[in-house]
Symmetry: C2
Subunit: 172 residues, 2 copies
Amino acid sequence: MGLEFDPIEEARRNWQKYEWGDGRAMVAATSITRAHQILLAEINAALASFDLTFSRFEVLALLYFSRAKSLPMGKIGSRLQVHPTSVTSLVNRLVQDGLVERLPHPTDRRTTLVQLTTRGGRLAPRCAAALETVGFGVNGLSDEQLDDIADTITTLRSASGDWTNPENPAQL
Amino acid sequence: MGLEFDPIEEARRNWQKYEWGDGRAMVAATSITRAHQILLAEINAALASFDLTFSRFEVLALLYFSRAKSLPMGKIGSRLQVHPTSVTSLVNRLVQDGLVERLPHPTDRRTTLVQLTTRGGRLAPRCAAALETVGFGVNGLSDEQLDDIADTITTLRSASGDWTNPENPAQL
DNA sequence: TCCAGATAGTAGGAAGTCCAACTATCTGTG
DNA sequence: CACAGATAGTTGGACTTCCTACTATCTGGA
């Protein structure tokens, strides 16, 4: 990139210099944004040879884990925490690639079931292996660091109401 | 959301159950992705009343911090770590909103300078204040947690070559 | 001097995300 | 039973990001 310094530390200095605050929250938020950008690039590079993206792989994996290898569109959205319209476009592409199929729900005609195809079922574990090989882009971190990040972000997610923990009614 | 459990923990269990790995890296990567999604939504909500997004605010802030309140397109891209074409589209929109101007570089005719307008210069600090008010979406975390996350991600960024530290020639 | 290669920026296109609005279907209450 | 409101999914549009390809300009070595 040609940078001789950490651009995020530079941002913190300026944030403080102009008295916009201590920069703590800004640095944390910017760091997470940048981390996401880096990980996504490495993950997608690892999946490129399968003609998959991380988002589409997540759908495949979710279906693979399900009992009947199928789930309603809406359930996919709530599990992956993405908007219904995102599910629509991801599934469109997966159907196009022959990795999943849309099926009518047996009793609720509003609902569309997404069913993993044989090809999709074969592909998912191979992608998982490829992702494990590249360590999901976080190879530079120790097991402890990975767990620390995950734990802290769990706090963040919980505070933002990512899910309702039955053991913690306070969240309601 | 209607979820009664943490979808990421559920993913870890399944990852292990199908023997795809211990799920550590997957959980860390997925957590960062989700954290990014949450923060971006809160940040953009805080900036919506200014008709700004986080990306466009970052450009504004970077120019505000610069000596002449102007920078070349390319420098903006390298500081914010985004692709040149992203800078083009961000600046297009900022120009359209009258917050920045494109100026020719005095000596290098290839280069385009982006100059903060008076309006842009007035807006930047107000947006910064709004972001500080919502704590950049990380209000649920303590100062220590914020610093821990930032530190760990610095390791990750450094490992991925985000910048070349002059004090650490090993990165070259 | 002059041209090959590097550098700066833009255009067009793909992908993912979200939102608002819309259709179709179900469900519960009066 | 019937209808208002909830629920499921899609369409169209906005935004950011990246990639490839392209033009314009600069620079250094032959």
